[in-house]
Symmetry: C2
Subunit: 140 residues, 2 copies
DNA sequence: TTCAATTTGCAATTATGTTGCAAATTGGAG
DNA sequence: CTCCAATTTGCAACATAATTGCAAATTGAA
């Protein structure tokens, strides 16, 4: 993670009236260390450093202020940094090996969202797109 | 639900070597009664009729043989009948009132999946697309 | 440095999902 | 229709995930 990421992180917390604490900084760094990852993976890494409960609570805070979001990959959800850190993208998720491939697209998806939102008078805020299947190495 | 739906349901169970039981039929009817809905909502309705454990087990069976699938709406997952019952579609989900609007699209999404799958040698099996935002009545 | 407000960690609780097993149900053979 | 092996059910117990109350510690602003 870059120094800028950390600065932005602190800025966002302050903007929303949250304090910058050791637990929050540590938890954020765990989130950045690999992604997307499950809450379970984060809890394991947090062992002895940040309490389970604080991890849950702060992940909740981070989500609320838009620092991270949940992506549903297969059954479980994983946590991922928000677009301002990693850029907007979607996922190809391998059903066999679990590999996640980031994909970009603004044309198809955004066009579609605009079109359908206009049709229903809907005001879109977030979207998620995910494709499950078999990656190059796992297809038989 | 139509009589045809029930017939198809029984046919699919038989095809996969599963018995048609009262618990399964009751659970399927609960699934059809509203959708998409959370497992929790189904468990409440199943009170005194079908045991928790059997609901979980049969929902698992239904998923496995493709009668239903999970859709991730906001945080939670909901259960929805598969395409052969309700047709392939996606969702606009209201962050305020929870309303779910079904939307159709084959052009944008399918084109994009084809394009990106070819690029990465990926073999797509399922996909999910969801837009969260505010519906006509809830936008301020 | 001081202090009110926020946040943390712990213990306890609730929610969600799973497993083993005896009893009941199902569906096919006769 | 009756019988029976195989499947399925419901119960109790267990496992895992997430939340809550509260005293003690930390934070940041004066």
């Amino acid at each position: 993670m870059t120094a800028d990421d950390l600065t932005l992180f602190k800025k966002r917390l302050a903007e929303h009236g949250y304090q910058v604490t050791k637990a929050r900084e540590a938890t954020f760094k765990l989130l950045v260390s690999a992604e997307p990852q499950t809450i379970r993976e984060i809890l394991v890494k947090a062992q002895g450093v940040v309490d389970r409960v604080s991890v849950y609570r702060n992940v909740g805070v981070f989500e609320k202020i838009g620092l991270i979001h949940r992506v549903h990959i297969g059954w479980k959800y994983k946590l991922e940094l928000s677009d301002e850190f990693v850029g907007h993208h979607h996922h190809l998720s391998c059903l066999k090996c679990g590999r996640v491939i980031d994909i970009e697209d603004e044309k198809h998806i955004d066009d579609f969202i605009k079109e359908v939102s206009a049709k229903f008078g809907f005001e879109p805020r977030r979207h998620q797109f995910e494709v499950d299947g078999y990656c190059k190495d796992c297809r038989s």
